[in-house]
Amino acid sequence: MDDDRVFKALADPTRRHLLDRLFERDGRTLTELESELEMTRFGVMKHLRVLEDAGLVVARRQGREKLHFLNAVPIRLIHDRWIDKYTEHRVAALADLKNELEETA
């Protein structure tokens, strides 16, 4: 149901950069993430909010800190829904072409 939000969230280089940072090391505070970006705290918060709304980042309290975790499940679902469908077709088409060419050879 949230494909639109995921695509929209991914359509921004800063947000993709944030996901990459979390992929390298997960469970980070806003302060840690902010220190790696040339951006105001408010700007980072805004991008994190878009990622959270898309389900790509999950924020959880751990003691006094709020940690941000990468959740790649929505990307996986898009992969299953969109990527598999077209790549399988392409692979199948190539396989058919190969069979046809070999038969006529």
């Binding site: 149901m1 990459d20 090391r25 997960d26 389900g55 999950v58 790649a72 499940v73």
Partner: protein, 148 residues
């Protein structure tokens, strides 16, 4: 290619169009789990979580730490499918199910306390849990296993 150390706390979250009760059944009953959880048959009692493989061999075992159907299940995780992983310290898995609007529920899986089990952490990381959650969602929403 970026190298990556498997995280000692891993969080996975997915919206599923199903009731908390249906999700609870799907994660605690063997006839459901074998359709999406790498073919394993999971059984959960008030104190024990066990996943058995197709050959009846133990795949995962753990003590049940919290058992609050249909909202929260927390259990230990010791991977028995690999001798090196079985020798590692136990980690912990928490399943949280929250009802949402429109007939959806939000399922969150937190696999943590992986500090003493790096090999297990790497094994379940990323695709490992994502395949499970993606398969669970597909099963509950369509009645079909993800991979036929």
């Amino acid at each position: 290619m970026t190298t990556m150390t498997a995280q000692t706390t891993q969080v996975y979250q997915v919206f599923i169009k199903a009731t908390p009760e249906a999700i609870w059944d799907a994660i605690t009953k063997p006839e459901f789990t074998q359709k999406y959880f790498y073919g394993t048959r999971v059984s959960v009692s008030a104190d024990r979580y066990a996943a058995l493989g197709g050959d009846g061999g133990e795949v995962v075992r753990g003590d049940v730490l919290e058992h609050d159907p249909p909202r929260r299940l927390v259990h230990g995780w010791r991977a028995m499918y690999d001798p090196e992983m079985a020798a590692e310290g136990p980690s912990r898995v928490a399943w949280e199910i929250e009802p949402q609007e429109g007939g959806y529920s939000l399922l969150t899986v937190v696999h943590d306390q992986l500090e003493t089990s790096p090999k297990t952490a790497a094994s379940v990381n990323g695709v490992g849990w994502m395949m499970v959650l993606s398969g669970l969602k597909t099963l509950l929403e369509t009645g079909e296993p993800l991979v036929a």
